[in-house]
């Protein structure tokens, strides 16, 4: 009886919880429908081409070692109409990137490729080409990135959204406030699910948090910076500074935990309104404790078992700089205690979790930030259209000229034969 009522209560609680979470992060995208709408994009002049003919043309051109024009690849991508054709287009994008014209892959081709992928449900394909951007030459602009992140957020695939944010970070294109807000939202939601992070994932998350937080001056930005530095410091302690900055746009001077503490100091000293989220501060505290206990235990083991091979290997790998970093750990721990005390006393620690902060930021600023983005997008679409029309015209002119020359040549040959 008691168990039955307990079960019913639990069931009720579960239902309520689901309702609550539904209203909070329902299946809705962050960006307004006007932003993600493809009406403006579809309103461009259509250039209907048969994909099979285009494919045959491109194959012939590649066989003869001639360069394929960027116009043909953009036509191919524009005229995709099914999922299989998405795969074919991926192949041709790969070939284009490995041809002499690879520098000329147009922005609008990349944009339309992403739109087509999203339309035909090939989002993982788009993510795959984005991740291997060296091989496919995918360097989307900010608007395209926003659309991609938004579609991932809509389906609550925060891991995928974080992969996209990682790519944005690698290209260092956190210029638009919309991009920053979206990426912070994705990152905070991903962290809220408390996933198991491998070292490379931690590194990527830390770097994305740090760089996206640098642009935002509010409390959410500062907390993101703190959390990012903490994650990077953890990787640094575990694997050395080289493992941190290799392949990432990060500074190579060691001391990321020191930078995290510098952020705290700045917040404590600044007269403004910036606060740090309790999540971030707690994470740093937990991290420092873990690291101190780990280093204590490992040094204890060292004393006990002198020349074990495993320990010897580790010591060979550790660099001088990294050793200096690890020795600073107790210093960091004590400084952290002071700074957190200061922050608490000045009321600069925001008790709400990171997720809530980001959602409030989203509600406040996203709508206003979208406006200038849309205008810029309209202007860009206009420019792209003009460029595309110019390319089409130029191609027509060149074809006409080639035709004329051929005709003149044939006439000359016929005249020579007759005469």
């Amino acid at each position: 009886m008691a168990a039955y009522t307990l079960q019913r209560c639990l069931g009720a609680v579960k239902v309520i919880h689901k309702c609550g979470s539904h209203s909070f992060i329902a299946r809705r995208s962050l960006l307004s429908t006007a932003y993600t709408d493809s009406k403006l994009w579809d309103a461009r002049e259509k250039d209907h081409q048969n994909l099979a003919l285009l494919a045959a043309l491109m194959d012939r051109t590649y066989d003869r070692n001639f360069p394929v024009s960027s116009l043909s690849i953009s036509r191919f991508v524009d005229n995709i109409s099914s999922r299989e054709e998405v795969d074919q287009a991926e192949y041709y994008l790969y070939k284009f990137r490995h041809s002499p014209n690879c520098w000329y892959l147009r922005d609008w081709t990349v944009h339309s490729w992403v739109r087509q992928c999203l339309r035909y449900g090939a989002r993982d394909k788009a993510l795959h080409t984005l991740k291997n951007k060296v091989q496919y030459g995918m360097f989307p602009d900010d608007f395209t990135f926003n659309i991609m992140i938004d579609s991932f957020i809509k389906d609550e695939d925060f891991k995928g959204a974080c992969s996209v944010v990682e790519e944005v970070m690698l290209q260092e294109s956190f210029d638009l406030p919309t991009t920053q807000i979206l990426s912070l939202y994705a990152l905070s939601n991903y962290l809220a699910t408390k996933p198991e992070l491998s070292m490379s994932e931690e590194r990527a998350l830390g770097a994305s948090l740090l760089i996206s937080g640098l642009k935002q001056d509010s409390s959410i930005g500062l907390s993101a910076q703190l959390l990012g530095c903490a994650l990077l410091g953890k990787v640094e302690m575990a694997a050395g500074i080289h493992a941190v900055f290799r392949g990432m746009p990060l500074m190579w001077t060691p001391g990321y935990l020191g930078r995290a503490l510098a952020v705290m100091e700045r917040v404590a000293a600044a007269p403004g309104d910036g606060k740090l989220s309790k999540d971030a501060v707690d994470y740093l505290e937990g991290l420092l404790q873990d690291l101190s206990s780990a280093s204590d235990s490992s040094s204890g083991e060292d004393d006990e078992s002198g020349g074990e091979e495993g320990k010897k290997e580790e010591e060979v790998v550790v660099d001088e700089d990294d050793q200096a970093e690890r020795d600073k750990l107790p210093l960091y721990a004590s400084r952290f205690k002071d700074l957190s005390g200061q922050l608490q006393s000045r009321g600069k620690v925001d008790p709400s979790p990171l997720q809530v902060l980001v959602s409030s930021l989203v509600q406040q600023s996203l709508a206003s930030a979208e406006g200038p983005d849309m205008e810029q997008y309209q202007r860009k679409v206009g420019e792209w259209e003009a460029e595309r029309q110019q390319l089409i015209r130029r191609e027509k002119e060149m074809r006409e000229r080639a035709e004329e020359e051929r005709r003149a040549h044939q006439a000359a040959k016929a005249a020579a034969k007759q005469g």
């Binding site: 490995h98 041809s99 260092e172 640098l214 080289h242 290799r246 392949g247 500074m251």
Partner: protein
């Protein structure tokens, strides 16, 4: 009498064809500088890299692997070398990329960045030059948010150049020459600057040769 040398036309043709084939089949940069990271040997020449370089090769990256991940192949970004960071710790030295030439045949996209501006120890080169030592595993990208701080540099003013008199025999010869040319002893005697004015490089010697030719005139 020496027998007239037989003109071997076919051998001549074969030589030309061989030279042409060698030119056509010369190894691309990507093949020449490819490296097997497990055994630290180059597949092209089967030579092993020196042991002291192994740590750097494993940890750092080549310039093109950094450039390939950037938009427009990294035009406008700054790149430093780890060896410069250790050599001149206080003065920032970096290249800024302005143009890139791409070798598209390689699987991992080799590039030879051309035409970049160099800032070396705080001074800027006047014209864009081609970057050398591109394939060394030594390069680092300066992140955009750190660029300003990286470029900060307060140059220490150089002390003025000191001058010293010439060695005695040479000085005597110079003074005798000047007396013969009737400059008189009123003018200052020539002194030797302690810091070399001119960088002895290929361009300098070429310009000196040209100057000498102009003065002497071409041989008749």
């Amino acid at each position: 009498m020496v027998k007239k040398k037989r003109i071997r036309l076919i051998a001549e043709m074969a030589r030309k064809i061989r030279a042409y084939r060698e030119l056509k089949n010369r190894p691309r940069e990507s093949e020449k500088y490819a490296l097997d990271y497990d055994t630290m040997t180059r597949p092209h020449t089967r030579k092993t890299l020196p042991v002291l370089a192994w740590q750097d090769v494993r940890r750092e990256s080549r310039l093109f692997s950094l450039l390939s991940g950037l938009r427009m192949f990294g035009v406008g970004h700054l790149f430093t070398r780890k060896s410069w960071l250790t050599e001149h710790p206080e003065a920032p030295s970096y290249w800024q990329v302005t143009k890139v030439k791409v070798d598209y045949t390689a699987e991992k996209m080799t590039k030879s960045p051309l035409c970049v501006l160099l800032f070396s120890t705080g001074k800027q080169e006047s014209e864009p030059k081609e970057m050398d030592k591109v394939m060394y595993h030594d390069w680092r990208l300066v992140p955009k948010h750190e660029e300003e701080q990286f470029k900060l540099y307060n140059p220490v003013p150089e002390p003025p150049i000191r001058y010293v008199s010439y060695p005695p025999l040479l000085r005597a010869m110079l003074l005798a020459q000047r007396q013969k040319d009737e400059l008189g002893s009123a003018a200052e005697e020539p002194t030797l600057p302690l810091k070399r004015d001119v960088l002895l490089s290929k361009e300098y010697f070429r310009s000196q040769e040209k100057k000498r030719e102009r003065q002497e005139g071409t041989a008749v």
